[in-house]
Symmetry: C2
Subunit: 197 residues, 2 copies
DNA sequence: TACGTTATGGACGCTTCGTTCAAGAACTTC
DNA sequence: GAAGTTCTTGAACGAAGCGTCCATAACGTA
């Protein structure tokens, strides 16, 4: 060992993430990140490499957090699976309508960079697939509990719900109000195939 | 009159739009636009003002074109309304899966700028509302023709379809393949309430 | 205490950015 | 053809971009 780091890596990464989140990749300068993290250029480049490298690191962490969040919200016992699904999607609708919130970083980064940066597009795809997986697991629990038609294709339905999830995010960005986003979500949930009784 | 313009305004705007479309607002330089349009800086600034002004002009035109396209695809006689709806959404799914296509400019601009530029967010919202309106009209035609349950709320369903439309765009950006996007679309269409028989 | 190693902070270089400007060209009107 | 107006070209400018470098500081080890 030699001289130890004076900054906390995690909080520095969070500050950098928030900058990218707010102003996008091209719109964020390394000077702004240096100011936000409180790091000098030397520390910044020494610890994280260049701008692209830093973004990849930040983005990777964020994608993992997104997947974890989906899993945490959606997994659990069968009895309350449908309730969790409803809460997850309606919560998302409410969050997307918040004016302060600057939307989802995955959506923003994918829109800006996916076509130019294969690392980003691959990471985005994996993230979506994993969220869909979490949704699939939840829907299967719903089926076991009799909330969803047992013959339905859970994976297909999960794909649709993921799509709705991403669409809500897009509409929220444009300023669609909360009640609209929530009622769209409810319409989507109402369209799920219910079991015969 | 004095010296006439040597360039075609529309094609210059299209070239500018394509640049913004490809590399985003912050990622596009006026030099790049000058090169793409073939205009000198003087002409560029003289004709369109600054960067932001030019983007607003380009974006406005594009939003109108988007709305027109939705209306053109979705309006018509009642008999083929559902067929047109299916074609519109499936066509969109296929287009979004095209790797060459750089996604929807409305989505990209909204993601990058909506939170910082009220002109953009307002224009995006109006665009979405008008596409939803086109979808609503189509669904009402479907109801008259007996393809959709007559008691269903067409506006609610249109909101859901708009959301799916935007979600498909988001997933396509990440690289989701065509067959997946199409089958999600089909699942969404299958979830629409059919009339009792 | 001396030395090697890593971290820090900011000045620096080079490039690119958005925008302005001056000189000249093309047109209309008188 | 002279005057007036608008358009074109491209150089120039200040600001800001990314990344490097260096003197200094703070540790471990000998």
């Amino acid at each position: 060992m030699a001289r130890p780091r004076e900054f906390d890596e995690e909080s520095a990464l969070n500050a950098a993430r928030d900058q990218f989140w707010m102003t996008g990749y091209a719109g964020t300068s390394m000077d702004a990140i240096a100011a936000a993290t409180g790091l000098g250029k030397g520390s910044l480049y020494g610890a994280f490499g260049g701008k692209r490298e830093l973004f990849h690191r930040v983005y990777d962490d964020h994608c993992n957090a997104t997947i974890d969040s989906a899993n945490r919200h959606l997994s659990g016992d069968d009895e309350q699976a449908f309730e969790r699904l409803t809460a997850y999607l309606l919560g998302h609708a409410t969050a997307c309508a918040e004016r302060r919130q600057h939307g989802c970083l995955v959506a923003k980064a994918t829109a800006e960079l996916a076509e130019h940066d294969e690392v980003v597009s691959a990471r985005s795809l994996i993230t979506f697939e994993n969220v869909q997986l979490a949704l699939t697991g939840n829907l299967e629990a719903c089926q076991r509990n009799g909330d969803i038609h047992p013959a339905a294709d859970a994976q297909q339905l999960a794909g649709l719900l993921l799509t709705v999830h991403r669409g809500i995010e897009a509409l929220g960005k444009a300023g669609t109000d909360e009640s609209t986003l929530r009622s769209i979500t409810e319409t989507a949930l109402a369209g799920l195939p219910r079991p015969p009784r």
